[in-house]
């Protein structure tokens, strides 16, 4: 494979080399093959979309990337090295943050505390010094608070900082979940249907935030989305999955004109 160089997008953004590569990933659950021999790569700084009909295996793929599922076969390469078998928390500590299709927040905690948990991978003070709240832990806590406040400003959720997450409407929960992932300052951000279930206005906000994150922090983003319009607007390159197989891979325009993709979507519709 030779795509370790960057490329320039249609709108003139410079994209870096490969940061993550899935090599021949297969994932089986008993008799069900959720992913069958799929390879694709993610370049530094791009917005990579995974699309496909229901049950295509998109979430499963995201779960493999984030370490929640262990592939039956295949390798995950990250930052130029083959990734050993890792637990999800270890993957998170390597700079891979994610959101979930069915929102996974800490419902009993405030918005602020939820987002603060996003900083866990960035904090190093020992347990003992935290327990007695010594200098280093305290300084760290303050520094992290500042970072978190910036994320809060960025996503325009200042007004709900102290609200328990359980009380928020769905759209805002999705935003808080994004905020928590962003607080980790990830090198790769995985978003599983960030706009599912939102109204048009919320979708527009979310699209804008995703573009801004990519633009301002240069964060690499891999997202799953059903809304074709959104995908076409946001992403630089798209992987198309159907029944666990990859049936297309390329720029939005290429993918839209791919016969296999058209068939899959017409077949569903």
């Amino acid at each position: 494979m030779t795509q370790n160089q960057g490329y320039t997008t249609a709108d003139g953004r410079q994209i870096g080399g490969t940061v993550m590569e899935m090599k021949n990933i297969t994932l089986k659950f008993g008799g069900v093959t959720a992913i069958s021999d799929i390879s694709f790569d993610i370049h530094e700084g791009e917005i990579r979309a995974i699309i496909g009909p229901n049950g295509a295996g998109k979430s499963s793929m995201l779960n493999v990337i984030s370490g929640f599922y262990t592939p039956t076969e295949g390798e995950v390469w990250y930052q130029g090295a083959k990734r050993p078998l890792m637990r999800p928390y270890e993957v998170a500590r390597q700079g891979v943050a994610r959101t979930f299709q069915n929102i996974a927040l800490f419902e009993g905690m405030s918005v602020l505390d939820n987002i603060m948990t996003g900083r866990l991978t960035k904090m190093n003070a020992s347990i003992l010094s935290q327990a007695i709240w010594l200098g280093r832990a305290r300084a760290e806590e303050m520094a992290n608070r500042e970072k978190v406040e910036r994320v809060i400003d960025f996503l325009e959720i200042q007004s709900i900082r102290k609200t328990p997450v359980g009380r928020l409407p769905y759209g805002l929960k999705k935003r808080v979940e994004l905020a928590r992932a962003l607080a980790a300052e990830p090198s790769i951000l995985l978003l599983d249907e960030p706009m599912a279930g939102m109204n048009v206005e919320e979708k527009e906000d979310m699209s804008r935030f995703i573009l801004d994150v990519n633009d301002e922090f240069g964060t690499t983003i891999c997202l799953i989305e059903h809304d074709m319009g959104v995908v076409m607007d946001l992403s630089d390159r798209v992987v198309v999955m159907d029944y666990g197989k990859k049936i297309g891979d390329g720029t939005p325009t290429e993918v839209r004109n791919n016969q296999a993709v058209i068939d899959a979507y017409l077949g569903v519709a």
Partner: protein, 317 residues
């Protein structure tokens, strides 16, 4: 008869307010210890969905270890430090040998495993320290053994200094724990894990680390409870029964609520004492403290199945 139930006790409370205070104080001292034990349960339940049957025996085991180490010649406070190390090793061992292999098993299996831990600790404690009663090293630890005498309303109130110490230390422990849970990274991680495992993993929280930490905190709580209770009643395996008092506390306070554990513990401690003194002894021949808490919890649950504080019980949605 009705008179004796509904009038006399209250008249007595009104006539002898200093005695009422004394009764409430005694209840508070027991209550805060029930609350501590319940808190240990809650922490472990929230972070691992395990109903830790071993919490009570951990109280006994830590107290035995403390007294035993001191008997072997270690200075009192060194023994406390060494006991903490033992409790930490215990936490690591439980995580490694019991929790990790059983993760993902049904709750009942994990519950059974904690019964196993209980039996193991009973055996281990007896082998190392013997089964006979021991005296808590109260004065060696510098805990004052005198009494404060107060004269409220011209009456008379005795506060044993070791009880005052127990209440203050337990209060500090609870306050420290709450601050730790709310304002530190690890505390936040513990609460996060209690709320949502998946989300916790996604932000880099390691289940193993948190479990060890939580079981260690439960061990610290056990040691404080063991010292305080041991100072009142001596150290023996009979101490374990106070852990059963944590059950009604949890029924009232809910398995997941820290506030519930504290308020529930204090309530049960004080109410059972009040009942014993004003109703139990005059009308029922005394010894009501063994069952009152359970009856109270059952009655409350009849009307509020979710417990007093309304958090969901056991079943996770």
């Amino acid at each position: 008869m009705l008179h004796k139930i509904f009038i006399d006790p209250f008249v007595e409370m009104y006539m002898l307010p200093d005695f009422l205070l004394q009764v409430l104080w005694e209840g508070l001292v027991s209550g805060i210890l029930y609350a501590l034990i319940a808190l240990g349960f809650v922490l472990i339940f929230r972070s691992s969905r395990i109903f830790n049957f071993a919490q009570g025996i951990m109280v006994v085991f830590s107290a035995l270890t403390l007294v035993g180490l001191h008997a072997m010649g270690l200075p009192a406070w060194v023994s406390v430090g060494a006991t903490l190390v033992v409790m930490y090793i215990l936490a690591m061992t439980i995580e490694r040998v019991v929790l990790r292999p059983l993760v993902g098993q049904p709750d009942i299996i994990l519950f059974m495993a904690t019964i196993g831990v209980t039996l193991f600790l009973i055996g281990l404690g007896e082998i190392i320290f013997g089964g006979e009663n021991k005296v808590m090293i109260t004065s060696e630890l510098g805990i004052p053994t005198g009494a404060f005498e107060l004269f409220p309303w011209g009456g008379f109130l005795i506060l044993e200094q070791k009880d005052v110490t127990a209440v203050v230390v337990a209060g500090l422990l609870v306050a420290g724990l709450i601050a730790f849970l709310n304002y530190t990274r690890m505390g936040r991680a513990i609460r996060a894990l209690g709320d949502d495992h998946q989300a916790a993993l996604s932000v880099g929280i390691s289940l193993q680390t948190i479990w060890v930490l939580v079981w260690f905190i439960a061990g610290i709580i056990a040691l404080v409870t063991g010292i305080a209770w041991g100072a009142r009643a001596g150290v023996s395996f009979a101490l374990e029964v106070i852990a059963y008092k944590a059950l009604p506390v949890l029924m009232l306070g809910g398995l997941e609520s820290i506030t519930g554990a504290i308020i529930g513990g204090l309530m049960i401690g004080m109410l059972e004492k009040l009942f014993e003194i004003y109703w139990g002894q005059p009308l029922l021949g005394g010894n009501t403290e063994t069952w009152f808490a359970f009856m109270l919890a059952l009655i409350v649950l009849l009307f509020r199945p979710q417990g007093l504080f309304g958090e969901k019980i056991i079943e996770r949605v």
